[in-house]
């Protein structure tokens, strides 16, 4: 399932919504990304812009790719947009499988692909001004390894 939303999420209830439906889920892999304050605590806020409709489409595609590559019972991606503050949750990836290896690998894959293939752009707001976050070469490598 894909959710693109402004509001925060509760990982416990999101996970339980899925595990309560299937008693053969043995392993759940989860990744949560948060807004980092920065080394000098200089980040004041971060605004996530996205491309509505394309975001959902791309996340579906990435999610389906994970399902073809690993044995998953279910999977969930929640991605927030709008203005967020240091410590806020940005993204949740959760993968549900009978066995841990499929869940963990698919979870890592999903967050790696999200980084360079989901149409979000991050504006970091600090006292020194606003800067658009640039693509990292380490993220490109991480996406290409799959």
């Amino acid at each position: 399932m894909i959710k693109v939303q402004q509001q925060d999420f509760d990982v416990n209830s999101e996970i339980k919504n899925i595990t309560s439906l299937n008693k053969n889920i043995g392993g759940t892999g989860i990744f949560i990304g948060n807004v980092r304050e920065g080394i000098n605590s200089n980040l004041k806020s971060m605004t996530l812009e996205h491309y509505p409709k394309m975001t959902e489409k791309q996340l579906e595609k990435i999610n389906n790719e994970a399902k073809t590559r690993w044995n998953l019972i279910d999977s969930l991606i929640i991605h927030r947009y709008g203005k967020l503050y240091p410590g806020d949750q940005i993204v949740l990836v959760a993968t549900f499988s009978e066995h841990r290896n499929d869940a963990l690998k698919a979870c890592e894959f999903l967050i790696d692909w999200l980084k360079t293939k989901a149409p979000f752009w991050k504006l970091e707001e600090s006292d020194e001004g606003n800067v658009w976050v640039e693509e990292k070469t380490s993220d490109i490598s991480a996406a290409n390894k799959w």
């Binding site: 394309m54 991605h79 293939k117 149409p119 658009w132 993220d139």
Partner: protein, 83 residues
């Protein structure tokens, strides 16, 4: 054709969406970019380095040599930074 801009591409151009009708000479994304660059200095600046411009045609990421037509929704933006 609807064109959408995101992130600093949008900021430099100054609008987030515009509608244009394609001239005969515009067959690919790169043709469209060259056409837009002639509109004003803002466009020219935004599209100066096409290596850092990404494009989606009908919400699918494509290369700049992708063929386009008047019914397409085109979007220009910097490399994506999701997650």
């Amino acid at each position: 054709m609807q064109i959408k801009y995101f992130s600093w591409v949008k900021e430099q151009i100054g609008v987030d969406t515009e509608n244009i009708t394609l001239n005969d000479g515009i067959e690919t994304v790169i043709d469209l970019i060259n056409h837009l660059k002639n509109k004003s200095e803002n466009y020219n600046k935004a599209f100066k380095d096409t290596s850092i411009i990404r494009c989606a045609v009908n919400m699918e990421v494509t290369n700049l040599d992708q063929k386009i037509n008047n019914n397409d929704e085109i979007a220009f933006f910097p490399p994506m930074t999701g997650g």
